[in-house]
Amino acid sequence: MVEPKIIGFLCNWCSYRGADTAGMARMKYPPNVKIIRVPCSGRISPELVLRSFREGADGVMVLGCHIGDCHYGTGNHRTAKRMPVLKKLLEYNGIEPERLCVDWVSAAEGEKFATLIREFTETIKALPPFVEVIK
């Protein structure tokens, strides 16, 4: 089984710190996800996700603060609206929408973060090999 290559876009204030919290608690999870820090999940334009798939990512994670907890107030509201549309677009283009994981992780939720990574890695492993449709 080929190890899935996953890109994670994490907001600086909640989910990136949640990932740090998982580290501080020495929780173990698979190494497949490479994290890219962005100020807010609202910064994650659909193009960044699409481009990741084009470069060969088997899965992309978009993690932000819980609704109501956004460091910038409402940045993640945009994410919450934008990402479901993007999932539809992925599906339309022949990419399984399960390859995009959108969730909320607070700075305290190290356990949730580690669990998400474990589950998402398993989800991607269970999918048929990713055919790069765009290239």
């Binding site: 080929v2 190890e3 290559k5 890109i7 204030w13 909640c14 990136y16 710190r17 990932a19 740090d20 998982a22 580290g23 501080m24 020495r26 929780m27 173990k28 999870y29 190494p31 490479k34 994290i35 890219i36 820090r37 962005v38 100020p39 807010c40 609202g42 910064r43 994650i44 334009s45 659909p46 193009e47 960044l48 481009r51 990741s52 470069e55 060969g56 990512a57 109501g68 907890d69 956004c70 460091h71 910038y72 107030g73 409402t74 940045g75 945009r78 994410t79 934008r82 607070s106 700075a107 305290a108 939720e109 580690a114």
Partner: protein, 669 residues
Amino acid sequence: MSEARIGVYVCHCGSNIAGTVDVAAVAKWAEDLPNVVVSRDYKFMCSSPGQEMIETDIKELGLTRVVVASCSPHLHEPTFRGACSRAGLNPYLFEMANIREQDSWVTTDQVEATKKAMSLVAAAVSRVAYQQPLESLFVPIDPNVLVVGGGVAGIQATLEIADSGRHVYLVEREPSIGGHMAQLDKTFPTLDCSACILTPKMTNAANHQNVTLFTWSEVEKVEGYVGNFTVTIRKRARYIDEPLCTGCGVCQEKCPKKVIDDVFEAGIGYRKAVYIPFPQAVPNTPVIDRDNCIFFEKGTCKACEKFCPTGAIKFDQEDEIITLKVGNIILATGYDLFDARRIPQYGYGRLENVFSSLEFERLTNAAGPTLGRVVLRDGVTVPKSVGIIHCVGSRDKNYNNYCSSICCMQSLKFAHMVKERTGAEVYEFYIDIRTPAKAYDEFYQKVLGEGTHFIRGRVAEVTDAARQPGEEGKLIIQAEDTLIGKQRRIPVDMVILSSGLEARADAKEVAIKFGISCSADEWFIEKHPKLDPVATMTDGVFVAGACQGPKDIPASVAQGSAAAARVMSLIGQGEVEIEAATAIVNEETCVGCQECIPSCPYGSIEFLEDKKKAHIIEALCKGCGTCVGTCLSKSITLRHFTDEQLVNEMIGAMQSMKLFEAQDLVIVE
């Protein structure tokens, strides 16, 4: 970006990283990445030799970009940015790869951890080549300070700052400052009287020429950023004209409506509908409790108004909305006591003579409802035996996992006071005795010497169902004594539950208001648990006292002073550096669709009617980048998080992962 000359530095962090990641292999591997001029590994990059190594290389090798692979940027990004600055390199030309929190600490397999570190370094190297120098904005700091919460931590912070000559606005939700400490009778381990050490501080804070006190008030809204906050306060109507009121107390005396005081008297005493919570209250101005006042209920009464000698009663008073400008904010909002009703087997609220710790505090308080007599709920019977149960709601996976830190010492204090006041037999039921601070264990030894019985074991239940002779009419505490391995039933007259501390019920709401985060237990999260315990992730917002986690009085006072020192240091700098990563519109490609305008959480985007283009007001932009994600014509760029930078970071990671897929990594020992 062929001109970039990149230096890569891989940190061992002692064995924190090097124990799992082959750091030498990562450094060696990075040498071959595009534009890398030098790649080294070192024991502790954050130490001064580590930082000097970077500075020397910048100067001698002419580095134009720096990557450090070490811990989380939340810990040491400022450190390495500083090193770059000192060597004359713009700090925004630095990038960090988090190979500790997000790699070595979370990955078991050493080869996998090393590969992940390599990918993260590759991503950072790929990104840093596209980073641009940025100039930070400097804005002046408003020297006024807001302190929220008038408990001992807030008072301490207020006095420290006010004494330094700066103005403090102290906001307290209750009618008086003083917090939980004002409710206590004695404080451990010295047993000095709580009021004697606190009330002078309360008076000083209120009378200080540099303090404006707002009691019976709450913060409604906070806007702005470090150095320049605009705070809206709702000063609730007291229905008393404060300047006219002399605090004589006649209104309180004449008011016909008695109300159970479940705030200050913890539910065991009464107050009137117009009341001063306690005689030493600051300010000494009463409040009319609108929900219980007969006049507000029925439209008649006004006894207080009739008897007030100065005509200070104002039934038509309305809430005042006050707007303040401050540069820094200290949150000292304290804790809530764990509600022991949540553990039904302990009988609190059901069995008459089961008391909560705060109820017992009021009972022993010389100014409390019994004037300090330790008696049962009937108000007369002196208990002959008392059981004290530790860890109520703490160290319990059903309620709170954490240790509430004060309860052991508090329980020992209770044991001493019961002995002193009644001579009763005292039984302490504990899991472990935790007395780690100065003179605390000595206090424990003293209480041991007084003949208090210590039974090690968690209490199963408190019941009034007698099963054995001698249990009739008593409360029976059933517990396993784990030191002798036996179940025991101890009949007592009174049970005191040493309830734990919990975050305020509205802590989450307050955190959102001030833009900070809460832990899973809803305590406010500090910037760093060891090295930055009173700052938060939001610049200019500090925390002090029990709102950050359970703490006793000395620790709360220390944090109050610490937060004050942090604030004064910022004020002393005169101006503060604002993150330069703001967004900018490319007017050439902007189509003027205005989609970005409502997406901005700060209203920082305006529409230039003449040009039909969007424009970002830099001083208002906080750099979240939501507009970038929204812009349909890709005309907005967020500095330091540009598409080019993020895409190249992703490509760097992807390429290395693809490389590892194609070939097995051989770790060179």
